[in-house]
Symmetry: D2
Subunit: 349 residues, 4 copies
């Protein structure tokens, strides 16, 4: 840490900082500049929070040199994390990008779900996604079928062999969701629901963690750190758009650059969700492609048997024929670019 | 609702929309413009989600005329909601703005907490705030003392008569927190933790709901609506800053205008939190004043017995002498301006 | 336009709106809802500004159905605009994406500039970019060589045949810049310098207009409209990133989705600038690729003979060897994907 | 400056940085940490841009200790700047906050303007504002009467004694505007039109500089620095709202906290503009009050003789009776709070 003192800091203020640093085992090196005094603190930040230093009299700013996340950091683990599923599907590293598709929420129409699953299988997808428990901005909106939805997903898995990914909203449903899901999703609005992160940190299923709409990249990686710190290192990140100042054309701003940034600073796999990221059907194809060439390890897209009758997110869902058209293009892109070999960290420094 | 069709919409597309509207009991009025066809839909939106219409072929946009929240809306209840506590303290309406003060988190130093509580009582505060369960961005930070903190708060209440406000992070702690708290806080990062909102919607304590860092005013009021819809209409809102593009000087942008906006569109009380809103001690006084003259029903501020030793948020906490100085100014402002009579909805239309 | 009246609007208020609409040749259709009265106004918006209606008593909101830009709109001109240069280079439509490269600012080192130009030519670039007049946030920073820089660019053009693109900061330099430039750049910070837009609207060189850091897509297209309205329809747009809430890793958020959105709503060509968009050298390759697959008609990148000695933007500039490596990959991507045939508007509605 | 090297930086990289620092007269102090090497550079930043260091190989980040603005900084000039006008009106320091009111644009109705001016005089305002040259997002909107408007303003000044403030959009109009205006406004969209800043830096009239909608506080102060650096130290700042993610209720987010922040870091006066800051008439009163109690040296508000007929910004303009009602409340607030003595920099550190 580097502690920058106020111009008006007294000798006593400076000594106060030095004392607390020494107390916590830091080495303190003092530089008296023309205007400000600066203290270099060498030691282990976990023993002394920068917040605490910032609160001391005479301290102007505390600047960190190292990122506060560790287990999620590429510094600690240079090689890509690859997450392997029971059926051999692998996410991350040099593996072919994966596809996770399905309806926003599973509705009371098993045939519709199965149609999507069959089409997904046909297009080479690995995961069937679908919400059983849905977070909804308004209490008047449909919030999911619950366990029945999980049963439908399991049935579709049985028929197609697709892995199941579904959202967990509350730790009390953890056992239930674990029973049916191969990959547990933490939604964007729960990215900093730390109790939920702790709970899934203690379970033995891989987690897909969506970036919160106002989360910085550091906050996103620290949320992953919460899961890893509690024992579960199998975390897949998902970029799904952040709040921007212009919502006339897109629901969010899909932050494609977050993908190569995170690839540089973390070893965790990251996939892209152009459905939530844009909220517009016509943007799914170009933005999925953009994510893939920028290094994404997979794509998550909403597909519905009949988007015009979807109980949620129909506007951003592909119909089955549209899905087939878009995903055959995505498959071609992956084949032509040999993306399975190229999503390693970018080299130009 | 007003449904604007694409320029390229076919007669069949238009008929499709009209059919679904009729199915759901809407009256549909068609306007064929030079470029676009527009359909006015008169009826009850709860029976048909605009999302569903937006997903139909040929539909360009669906515009809502009424706000989607109801119980929180001033349209439905024109008079201010006033929330009364067991000791007669009232929040909202024409009542004198209330003060909620205390440390960010309750630490293992009861004397320190009691010192703050005694000073708070002396300055005319009504509530003692303090975290027992703390959401922390990093898993390496102090996350609260748990029940012991609640016991400390209860003891300080006994000695000073202050009401206790503390954060609930997970529904499983609800009974425990209800046992000790007079007012239950839902933190900013849990503003859209819908399970938690549902849980507190079923309890019999008043709730203080903090605005999420990227929540629009509509999302904020819909979060309150979740609580109210589940049965608990005693909700106090709290503006505590939103994410901005400049975090060099302040942690967040404290959105003062949200106070008079919410006063116009909702009957719920709203208070201001300049500690989290700015993250800077020197901004507490001016921003608390700004919130009060803009119509806030109260102020929440972090005060610590020894900010330089605080385990969290020291930088934005006032020491006891600073607190006394700032709050005697706030009390004067309230007295001089007779704010107890003026925080009614603004009249100039 | 659709005019939504306040719940409390009087019959007189409503009549006032109808009168003004009729005065301006609009047809007004009245719908009295359960809560609000809504007026459909059919007519020519240029004769009556929505602002004026919004200011009337009893009016709650005015919603527009058509976009306010016209000349820039694809509604008015469905086919892509292609801009052709004297040497036959074409930008837009189904043409191969173009490359514009060069140093942020032209420095007093002609050899350095020439080295970049020669490398650019070798890699198939069409344009040499370089600033003669530089907008600088701080008055203490290098702000360009002025005419000398323009002469250097012209000399490099003579030697390599590359077209010259350079920024115009003030209308008084227009003749000077026109003398040397093939394509005139309006920088992001001048996107709403309407006098400058008007001036270049009257000149006979094509314009490249960069998106302002806080400009909505509508504001961006309206800035283009200013140029077109003044007589110059040869406008190339450039997405270069918008302000976001997280500037720890990237200077801006490069809004890749703006590319397909603008392709849908406008016929103008649009290119992507990953140097300014991210401010990070290692992000140029993935973000240029992302822009290209999302439909960009070209890429603008900063290349410097010796980035470590650049007087501006060195951090985000490629050295010549890095440039060759990155651009041979971009060329491959374009070749493999046959992007010259695929950047037409996306079809999935 | 503090230069933080990449974890992978070589001894050669480090030596490269040290060499360039020494070349520019800096003293370099090296700290080899467990992970990163850090170099403290003590010297004069104007001789070596941090950008240049950031572009060097092996450099991870360059952190500045001092703010990059100087003439605008309170470090350099601790006492408040007070700007005095020909008629003795003073802005800044302990002087009573000033009022600047008038229509958004001066229209071809001198009587209307005079009515506003007379009312303004009556309410104790010091400045009459009105646009002669208007920046308009769309080329189809009214963009000002030009010199005729300036003549109307001068005539109204003659009759009422009010000082005239009007916007300059282009340096070519500088002499014309100087002839009529007492205070020259640089609009938000021109905040980084550096040529314009340079031009007004060379004129002898005071300048009011509005904050750009996406400008950080540092960029804002650096824009003021451009004017001051060119010779004109008489700069008044104006907070008028920044772009936010929620524009349903307010046009911008009026950043009240920017007022006390700027008071702390700069000696320049700052006023608040709640009309543009919110875009809503009913928010003018609470937000003007909020600005005043937070330390603003004045308030700028749009007032129109007949807002419903205003050619621009009617929605956010007060009518004359509304203006009188609101400003008598603002006058009372100033009187009661003795704000003329209290807008000094806030003391709690």
């Amino acid at each position: 840490m580097i502690i920058i003192m106020e111009k008006t800091a007294t000798a006593e203020n400076i000594q106060g900082v030095i004392n607390i640093l020494k107390e916590h085992g830091f080495r303190a090196i003092l530089h008296e500049g023309a205007v400000h005094t600066v203290i270099d603190a060498l030691g282990d930040k976990t023993t002394l929070s920068p917040d605490r230093l910032e609160a001391m009299e005479g301290v102007s700013q505390v600047k960190l040199i190292r990122q506060p996340y560790r287990m999620a950091s590429r510094d600690r683990k240079p090689e890509d994390t690859v997450i392997e599923f029971e059926n051999g599907v692998k996410v991350g590293g040099n593996n072919r990008p994966v596809f996770m598709v399905g309806p926003c929420s599973v509705e009371d129409d098993y045939e519709g779900l199965l149609n999507v699953a069959i089409a997904a299988k046909e297009m080479g997808c690995q995961f069937l996604r679908g919400g059983a428990f849905k977070p909804r901005t308004s209490p008047y909106d449909f919030d999911g079928l619950g366990e029945k939805a999980l049963q439908y997903l399991a049935k579709a898995k049985e028929e197609t062999g697709l892995l199941v990914v579904t959202e967990l909203m509350d730790a009390t449903d953890l056992d239930l969701v674990c029973k049916y899901a191969d990959l547990i999703q933490i939604g964007a609005r729960n990215m900093q629901n730390f109790r939920l992160l702790k709970a899934v940190g203690k379970c033995n299923k891989p987690i897909i963690l969506k970036r919160g709409p106002a989360a910085t990249i550091q906050e996103f990686l620290l949320a992953a750190e919460h899961i890893m710190y509690n024992g579960n290192e199998r975390v897949i990140l998902c970029e799904r758009g952040v709040k921007g100042f212009d919502s006339s054309f897109t629901r969010n701003v899909l932050d494609i650059s977050a993908i190569p940034v995170i690839k540089k600073y973390s070893h965790l796999p990251i996939i892209v969700d152009p459905s939530h990221g844009t909220g517009q059907r016509y943007l799914i194809e170009p933005m999925a492609k953009a994510g893939l060439v920028a290094g994404a390890d997979g794509v998550m897209v909403e597909v519905h048997n009949n988007p015009a009758k979807a109980l949620s997110d129909g506007k951003q869902s592909l119909s089955i024929p549209q899905f087939k058209e878009v995903f055959s293009k995505l498959n071609s892109l992956i084949d032509i670019l040999h993306l399975e070999n190229s999503n390693s960290p970018v080299n130009v420094e």
